[in-house]
């Protein structure tokens, strides 16, 4: 079983896990600050302070409406985090149900589910989300659903291979002989063994979700203004890249930090699991 430790299996220091944890904690602390008390109102405009540079009053400057970029970045990061978490939750749940059924029962169920899965998998997830958003409209919750559904196939694939691996093992045969039904075997006997692999793919999925949300919002179909989101801010900053290049710095660095933190964490966890 997975036990948390900053050391890899061979006893060497797991620097991925350490760095990932430090960065992620930093990001989460900033987001928490945004929730509890952002320095400025994220929607308060001040036309006299448009595109102010970095200063002690506005540490990441202000945007085209004179709003404080730092406040908008830490609040926007929370929006992004919510969307990413919702996306991963939907993708994971859907993937678990489909992958477990396909992997455990095999045969026709496997063939049908996996072919549907492959078809979905063939579209890039952002493109799939685009289709869903254009059908159901934009907005934070629709983006969560759109991305969540688009993320199901990759989780399903991973869960299926894990269930397939354990299905034939002796301890499952033993449980079956003792009278365990299919649901119990899947939920109690196989599922806990997939946790280490699930954990690292959740972290990787989280990453992709952050990037996908930023992408969708950048395209203008994700989070709607004036609600701040990192992708949205980046897309707005692009219009002023020549005149006010510093605007892009804040949201850009925040996305980098979030993705870097989670991917290092994911890398660290998989190193810990696989040795």
């Amino acid at each position: 079983m997975f036990r948390f430790s900053f050391h890899a299996k061979d006893g060497k220091k797991n620097s991925y896990l350490t760095a990932g944890t430090v960065i992620t904690i930093l990001v989460l602390a900033l987001i928490l600050l945004g929730i509890v008390h952002a320095p400025y109102d994220t929607e308060a405009m001040n036309t006299s302070e448009k595109f102010a540079g970095f200063s002690l009053l506005h540490i990441l400057g202000t945007d085209n409406f004179g709003r404080d970029v730092f406040s908008r970045v830490i609040v926007g990061a929370f929006t992004t985090l919510k969307i990413a978490a919702g996306t991963v939750a939907i993708g994971l749940l859907g993937g678990l149900v489909i992958g477990a059924a396909a992997g455990y029962f095999g045969g026709a169920a496997d063939a049908v589910l996996m072919r549907i899965n492959d078809t979905l998998f063939a579209f890039p997830s952002v493109l799939l989300a685009l289709v869903i958003v254009s059908l159901f409209g934009s907005g934070t919750y629709n983006v969560i659903w759109a991305l969540g559904i688009a993320f199901i196939p990759s989780f399903a694939r991973m869960v299926r291979s894990e269930f397939l691996r354990y299905r034939e093992s002796d301890f499952i045969a033993g449980a079956r002989l003792q009278g365990a039904g299919s649901m119990r075997i899947m939920a109690v006997h196989i599922f806990p063994n997939t946790l280490p692999v699930l954990l690292s793919s959740v972290l990787i999925g989280f990453n992709n979700a952050v990037l996908a949300e930023a992408g969708l919002s950048y395209l203008g179909i994700g989070v709607q203004p004036p609600e701040p989101s990192l992708g949205r801010m980046l897309s707005e900053a692009q219009s002023y890249l020549m005149t006010a290049p510093l605007y892009a710095f804040g949201p850009g660095v925040m996305i980098i930090l979030m993705v870097l933190g989670f991917s290092l964490l994911g890398e660290g966890v998989s190193k810990r699991v696989n040795g």
Binding site: D10, S169, F171, A173, G174, A175, L177, Q178, H189
Partner: protein, 535 residues
Amino acid sequence: MGKTLLDVSDLNIEFHDHQAPERVVRDFDLLMEEGEIVGLVGESGSGKSMSAMAIAGLLNRHEIEKTGKILFDGTDLLHCSREKLRSYQGSDISIVFQEPMTSLDPVQKIGRQVEESLKIHHPDLSEQERQNRMLKSLSDAGLPDPAGVAREYPFELSGGMRQRVMIAAAMIDDPRLLIADEPTTALDVLIQEQIIELLRRINRERGTAVLFISHDLSLVNRLCSRVLVMHHGKVIETGRSSEVFQNPNRDYTKKLIASIPRVNLQRPRDNDRDVHPEVSPAPTGKNALSVKDLSVFYTSRGKGFFGRTQKTEVVHHVSLDVGEGEILALVGASGSGKSTLARAVAGLNPLHTGTIELPDGRPQMVFQDPYNSLNPAYTIRWLLEEPLRLAGVNDEKERKKRVDEMMELVHLDKTLGDRYPSQLSGGQRQRVCIGSALMQKPKLLIADEPVSALDVTIQVEILSLLKRLQRELGLAVLFISHDLRTVWQLCDRVAIMKDGLIVDQGDVDEIYLHSQSEYTKQLLQAACIVRREEQ
């Protein structure tokens, strides 16, 4: 006295890749003469393979610290240059490993792999000469169609043939020392015998010295003139094989020798059954299992997306009975269908025809590999409680009480309850497996090679546990094995399987003493069980 070939003195091997350095071999001394066969015996973790790898110059990771001397023909292999060492490897010193499956490159043809060391050590040889020597080496290793085999890939050969290929590759440059690291452990008894005979012939005809590493003392006794017994990284006893076997000095050696199941057909069987001398409970006349005309199939998917599934018959029209409280052995080589039959009886393979009658309900099963038969995600106590939960015992106190009783019955320390399977030894795990199988109080236990993955001294413990449980609980056991010596000690009746058929069946005494089946005779011979009329 012949000429000294190998002189190892004060060899110490220490691993430094963990926090605390771990010494796996201590003060190892070995003197080998030209053309001598020396046995190196010990259980897993005793350091025997490490010593051999060091002699072959294969322990070169820098976390491994080696001190001492390994003089091969006067050159110190531990302290010479890499180039010098390489000039010996594969040429004067060759090694054959345990697992013929993984020690051959799966994507290279046999011929290329066998001639590899000639390419390295004799680059001046012509293609034709190399080819000739390669074919000769294959035929010397007893492969019937060398030219054909040379063109094949490893997966096209059987385990025994692959091991012959390994030996051919090791022998191609006429080494003076052949290190054989458990070369027969992964093979069936009949094949095992052939490989031993091949090693003996190589030694006799070419004068190659052989360092034979094994955990099987009876094998070492038959093949080697001298033997070294290793325990916890130290050589604890050494001498002529016959002397060590007849008068072992050390307790550990005595224990090892005692763990070889004794088979003496000249006296009543109970004398040999120190596993547990008590006889089985009197037969009740009722059957715990009766199988009639059973055929078992496997399906394999055809090629391509729309490939039709194909049914292959693995077990053909087999009939057998297991009486209540009786131990029936099902013996056969790997691939004979014995495990397939067992899984069908347990209800794990629904693809069968014929009848399986189980008057006392579902049987339980103990599997071969204790490392794969316990769910790694749960503690031992949880694993033992699960069968009760599944049987509808909802009272937590009741479950705890019954688990405690079971742990006592199978001699598991109570403190192990909170551990995970990965924290247990192989023998402890197998006790948990047996305990878990017995929680629902089945009347029939199917044990599929329950000891073959364990060290010999542990095997004895597990077998005596099985025997005791059978007696105390009146349990019927279908005991699947390839080891006729174990069967002699443990079982009441025996059925012998070959190619999906039962070729011989009867009381153990009857079969061992009087069976007329050719195949049974071959198996007995391979296990070195000799009848009076044949002596």
